[in-house]
Homo-oligomer: 470 residues x 2
Amino acid sequence: MSQAHENSQECKDGVLAGLAGGNGTEKSNSEKEKMDKNNNKFLIIPNNCEVCSSDIAPEDGKTIEPTTVEPASITSTKPSSLIHESTPEPTSSEMSTGLFSPSLDLRHSTFIEDENERESDMKPQTRYSDGSVRLRNPHIELMDQDILYHLALGSESHDLIEMFQDIKFVCIGGTPKRMEEFAYFIMREIGHKIPTGTQLLDISQYSYRYSMYKVGPVLSVSHGMGIPSVSILLHEVIKLMYHAKARDPVFFRIGTCGGIGIDGGNVIITEEALNSELKPYHEISVLGKKIRRPSKLDRRLREDLLSLAHEKDNAYDTVVGKTMCTDDFYEGQARLDGCICEYSEKEKMSYLCELNRNGVTNIEMESLAFAALTHHAGVRAAVVCVSLLDRLKGDQVLAAKEVLNEWQLRPQILIAQYIKKELGLIPIQRKSPILSSFPAIPCSCPHSTVMRVKSPRRMNMVQQESESYD
Amino acid sequence: MSQAHENSQECKDGVLAGLAGGNGTEKSNSEKEKMDKNNNKFLIIPNNCEVCSSDIAPEDGKTIEPTTVEPASITSTKPSSLIHESTPEPTSSEMSTGLFSPSLDLRHSTFIEDENERESDMKPQTRYSDGSVRLRNPHIELMDQDILYHLALGSESHDLIEMFQDIKFVCIGGTPKRMEEFAYFIMREIGHKIPTGTQLLDISQYSYRYSMYKVGPVLSVSHGMGIPSVSILLHEVIKLMYHAKARDPVFFRIGTCGGIGIDGGNVIITEEALNSELKPYHEISVLGKKIRRPSKLDRRLREDLLSLAHEKDNAYDTVVGKTMCTDDFYEGQARLDGCICEYSEKEKMSYLCELNRNGVTNIEMESLAFAALTHHAGVRAAVVCVSLLDRLKGDQVLAAKEVLNEWQLRPQILIAQYIKKELGLIPIQRKSPILSSFPAIPCSCPHSTVMRVKSPRRMNMVQQESESYD
């Protein structure tokens, strides 16, 4: 694989050709679109990568069958077994969806493929009759108190019903900063008001681990990096919803990712989270035994989000695709720029193109556990990420800070649209230049929202004047 | 298993009997000690757990052979294969320690068991002749610039040699707060001075992910929670050491953990990091293939730390033991208090006692990747954790905040002793009440150190007076 391939200039009609806007603000000419029966616009990922096709000779004499790559936005029910032909598919005895029983053997539960059947089957185990969250853990209600360590909250120290019963949407994302910004953003979007002289509080500040903000029915929480970190958070937030008697909360992960054949700036809604072997389950070790939980996300929620995304003619694309979730950012994602790299650029490119041919549209580090845990807990959930770069073109993110900041707003805008629709709010007329033009850096959060600004221009003048005086 | 067992009052002579101080400040009567040839004091973990022995009937007709449990402090070279007899041991072809080659097949590298042989073998690959860090990645030096995203540093944007060449010790731990406190603590310990009117800067503040502080030759960095988070940090910090041309830096993880038969407040130096199957390797997925890296820590460093710990008659014990590293805090560590729990208390206790009989002294979530990555990069490293509770007695940490804060200082004190010794510093006479009595909450970091306080008592009075005036 030549350096030129890395720069992707020579690759014309294959995966490397701009599937989406070059810098995220314009769509490329080579883009191919398709309309489905609902008039939703899909991008088609071509199957032939001219440059790489010769590099993907099957190893060890294995035959790799040609596959028809499905559009990124169409759900495939076919197992992605190309890369690891020898890896057995999970059998019904390996997938655990079993309910609690003191003598339960987790490895002999039944995995039900059909999503609707599954939902109705799960409901009595994960919801009380009034729709409030029920836990798949009979021990909790026997405990004197339940301390949610990593949130700095407790069932007996805090009135969790009073504080959190009205939560309808739980939005989680990587950094405390992004989730604080999202909290102020959603506050503005849904027109939620807090008293003059107040600002949002980081409810979990004394955990020193996650940051949590509450804006009316929306919880905005940071989850750190990687599956273990997001798992701890989800265990405790789902318990929080249980203690609070919140009804049918919907969970969103708002993130960033590396695109595979998807340029930086485009938005990807995860159809299915895959592990590093491209299998749609999360394997965890429980009491020394491996169990696998299907990493499913809510189909209806995904479709609603896609419809909303296509209501507007954005300067970027929103697609549905398969998301590979890894436990490592460098070697685990075939980067060349980790402190250790024991493969060549050619091997890296072959691997990434292989992912592309298997329908993988993006790579990140949390979706697998997020999907598996929420699914098993009976929580409707979706993952919406913005691509920071096309990994078929390089490893390091080179877009300017202002551009990256604007890109990171895009998943937030989509989630805000959904929340507003669910709350029955008429879309707010966007007078603020922040929302209408999606500027690079949102102005300082508390002031722009809490201060009830009539004129942002004059507010900036006042602030500047104020700063000038000693 | 009865609730009484959970509370551990009935279990007299087995694993549940206090192996160390009850509340971390006194040693229990049932403790058994042993001296080695260097007069280091070891704790012996008994093999017979009266309460649990009946609960560990082998499943599926497998025979579990009786084993002689080794003292937690003595290195065992035997594979811990009791729990997963069917899991094959890694073969030489599965362990990857291979050096870079464009056509390298990672699965056919050779795993060399002997530590000394391994060290001499690795040295040319991981060090230049002057002792500065060399990377197992030939791509980095071909790059125009190397952006260390998660540290907010870059090889061309920052003069990394000027900034970091003097680093000798890299200390990492979970939260930004703890590592800021450690930075001020080590500053005081090594007598490092910064100009009046300055305070330590969070060098990585604009990454919004990790916090990094530099105190002379010591780097203090937060690593978040879990293997993915610590892996990202290590990749970038090792690259930072490379760009800075730092010579032979030593890495420490300073953490907290759940003890197995080790009461809260006692300190554990990891002899070997084990995965959830009790195997001493970290399995990662690289280009879709599973590779295993031995999770070895530096033996000499561990022995030096243990000797230092036993130079003083602390009110708590310091032991060497095997650390199990998990990807999940709740189900992965057999807790009953996650949002999902599909096993009984009895099954949980059987599992924990099984861990105990296999020589596991503690459980945490980072040591495996920390050991594997540093070992493969040729970096000498150690893991020192304080136990927050004995998991054989419960799941939730119930010690008071002040007690927990004091416990968390204990690994820091040991690392500080090592650093001072390495720097050739005569142990500082500890006049400050902070160090002599290890109080619960260290006073506010910048003021107690940067202000060059003559009398802490009078400083507190001045601060109180000052606060009283409007």
